[in-house]
Subunit: 223 residues, 2 copies
Amino acid sequence: LLRLSGVTKVYAKDGAEVAALAGVDLDIDRGEYVALTGPSGSGKSTLMHLLGCLDRPTAGSYRLAGAEVATLSPDELAAQRRKIGFVFQSFHLLPGATAQANAALPLRYAGVPPHERQDRAAAMLARVGLGERLRHLPRELSGGQQQRVAIARALIAAPELLLADEPTGNLDSRSGTEILALLEELWREGRTLVVVTHDDRLAARARRVIRMLDGRIVADERR
Amino acid sequence: LLRLSGVTKVYAKDGAEVAALAGVDLDIDRGEYVALTGPSGSGKSTLMHLLGCLDRPTAGSYRLAGAEVATLSPDELAAQRRKIGFVFQSFHLLPGATAQANAALPLRYAGVPPHERQDRAAAMLARVGLGERLRHLPRELSGGQQQRVAIARALIAAPELLLADEPTGNLDSRSGTEILALLEELWREGRTLVVVTHDDRLAARARRVIRMLDGRIVADERR
Ligand SMILES: Nc1ncnc2c1ncn2[C@@H]1O[C@H](COP(=O)(O)OP(=O)(O)OP(=O)(O)O)[C@@H](O)[C@H]1O
Ligand SMILES: Nc1ncnc2c1ncn2[C@@H]1O[C@H](COP(=O)(O)OP(=O)(O)OP(=O)(O)O)[C@@H](O)[C@H]1O
Ligand SMILES: [Mg+2]
Ligand SMILES: [Mg+2]
């Protein structure tokens, strides 16, 4: 499903180069459950953004479902992004919209009518324990509650590819376990799940663990 | 050092009341090392903001170093805040300032000359592993790197009271351990340390663990 070949991502900073990704080759098949781990700054979020078509490599190729992403038109790229559920490490909620409106956003893009998408947003928020926070704005929510709104939004259209960048970083172990159970349920229905996590106990639940260091993949183990 | 008595924090939302804190009594002595735990939404960050003089209770009293915080003048309150090192759950870095400038900010308030505060910021950032990221803006840093800048900023003036709201949530276990070692070193020099954490292994290192649930303290154990 996903194939990265020779992928690099280099930033220019003060006349020097920072290699966020320094040569990555990676194949992920449809239906896999992958954990992506590694030290802070090792390139995990950068890799996730490339996989999610939110950024482009400096060099190398990314084929998604057989198509080279760099050759897609802006419309095709946008269409591809909407098939991907992305949980951002920093949430990226709309500050002026309620939890319910934030969670419903992907359905709005999909043309789902207002009443139905509000209902589905309410249901998904209830599943992540926020049934009593539907009308709260992000600034009226705790850190872990904001994280759960971001998760609800990523999952609400039941996309085929789920990319979750540290989805439990702000959650107690019980809430974190519930979130992981929800992600795994969606995966068992046939979806592809990639989770960045700093928690070894979470990584241990995946079927494959990829470890990064300094912009490279240094380990890739299947269980 | 810190005494909360009958503290409540209530928000009005859509004509209903949300009690973020529903009656908290808490004493913390100078030199203590306290972990604050509890489910997402249980009131930990709200409590931390009150302790840090960043917010006021709806009812009840907060005495800090013997003085009732509600009776302080704006200037006295600002002076009190500057003696407290606060690591925010969402970092709150200045987006237009470099890592070095962000870390140096408390020294600027303290009237430290530019050259000295730049040097001290560079040193503190090196201690949290960011010696090669001094000139990066927050958006040019990974999530865990931003968290470490926030930590460096909180610690740089070696304040007597350290309030850290989930300081390792975005860090791998090795970086997290280094950060904790730094916090504990400052504590061993005589400071008061309160850490909110979802990680039981981190909470186990504290000398006292306070557990919250639904805006109340439900457990308070000393080791
Ligand atoms: N401005 C507000 N209006 C209404 N409710 C609020 C507001 N701010 C916070 N809350 C509510 O107060 C409760 C406590 O929030 P707080 O941020 O203290 O939780 P927390 O324990 O830090 O959670 P987490 O572990 O997720 O960070 C939450 O249920 C939240 O929805
Ligand atoms: N715009 C940029 N300019 C320069 N360097 C950048 C930029 N964006 C990211 N970087 C660097 O790229 C590296 C990888 O960042 P990335 O966010 O992928 O790390 P990460 O593995 O997700 O880390 P964390 O676990 O802390 O979230 C970091 O060292 C970061 O400083
Ligand atoms: Mg990251
Ligand atoms: Mg919090």
